[in-house]
Amino acid sequence: MTGEVTGMTTASIWALLAMAIAVTYLWRGLGTTIVAGLDPDSPVLQWVACVAYGLLAALISRIIFLPVGVLENTELVDRVGAAVFGFVMFFLFKKHIGVGTLSAAGAFGVLVWARSQGII
């Protein structure tokens, strides 16, 4: 991502931020209001939790396969390769979150660095 935000005054930037915070809170507040009468162990809420997991997975997978923003300037094979490597390490180390995360991020950093140096 290059360039700077232009054509906006300081006041309009802050007003926009306030609106962005408000429209984000809308989901938080709405969800809280909807569930007021529901039992936490009810099937409906178990389904809703599954929807949250599915939505988050879709978001993560989209960021890895079809990123927008800075990650657009990296190679698909680096992102996927690093994620696969992380998962292999994750399962080798009995589902250790830290090992998986640091292996994947480390592999990704090395791959991007190696490309910038013309090594691969």
């Binding site: 962005a20 949250a52 993560i60 991007v112």
Partner: protein
Amino acid sequence: MRQHVEDKEGPAISASENPYADNWALFRRGLLDGFSLPAFMVAASMIGYGALVHSAGLSLAFGVVSTLGIWGLPGQVALIEYMLLGAPLVSMLIGVSLANMRFLPMSMSLAPLFRGSKTGWRLRYLWVQFMSVNTWVGLLRRVPELSPDQRGPFYAGFSTICMIAGAGGVSAGYLMAEAMPFYVTVTLVFLNPIYFAFVFAAMRARAGLLAFAAGAVAGPPMYILTPEWSLPLAGIVAGSVGYFADRLLKARA
């Protein structure tokens, strides 16, 4: 010395033996829980965001307020990208809002956990503002061992350390932006989604795991079909697949 705390709801518990003896101990327990991996991941991810805020020519104050106010990285990044594009106001707000739409099912899952606690339930509209994937999962993990009354202070402690880490991370990223090489910036941006992938992959509930796997498969093709609506659609489809597949497997077992 045995110090007994009289409690109307339950039997007397020994303050020296029970780590959850009072609210302050619970708050500290939350702080400590968050101070392991979660806070470091928030800080590292927000370093990437701070660098993005800097490169967009926005102020550090904007970086910190947007982090704590929106408190959801995809929405924060979407806001800056829309500002750079100079998109019309309404499309900007819809974009930011949809990027953080996960907060709807998440708050529906989080808020009921405080039912049964007078103070916890009264503060539910505040708790959902602190909610991120990290704090939500952090509380869910401890739910079996915490009573409704104990969840509020624990969650407040966990959220506090995550928000301190977030504000610190965005500041550090903003100040170091010019010194950070490209491969460091993109690695930090990559860190956030990949960390959550492992957080959920380590989950024990089968329905959630199945939903997560289905969402990972459905995400990219749905995005190609309809970029704006891909997330809610993929969430509903994958969530239903996970939920009903789990029920079928249970019925067969």
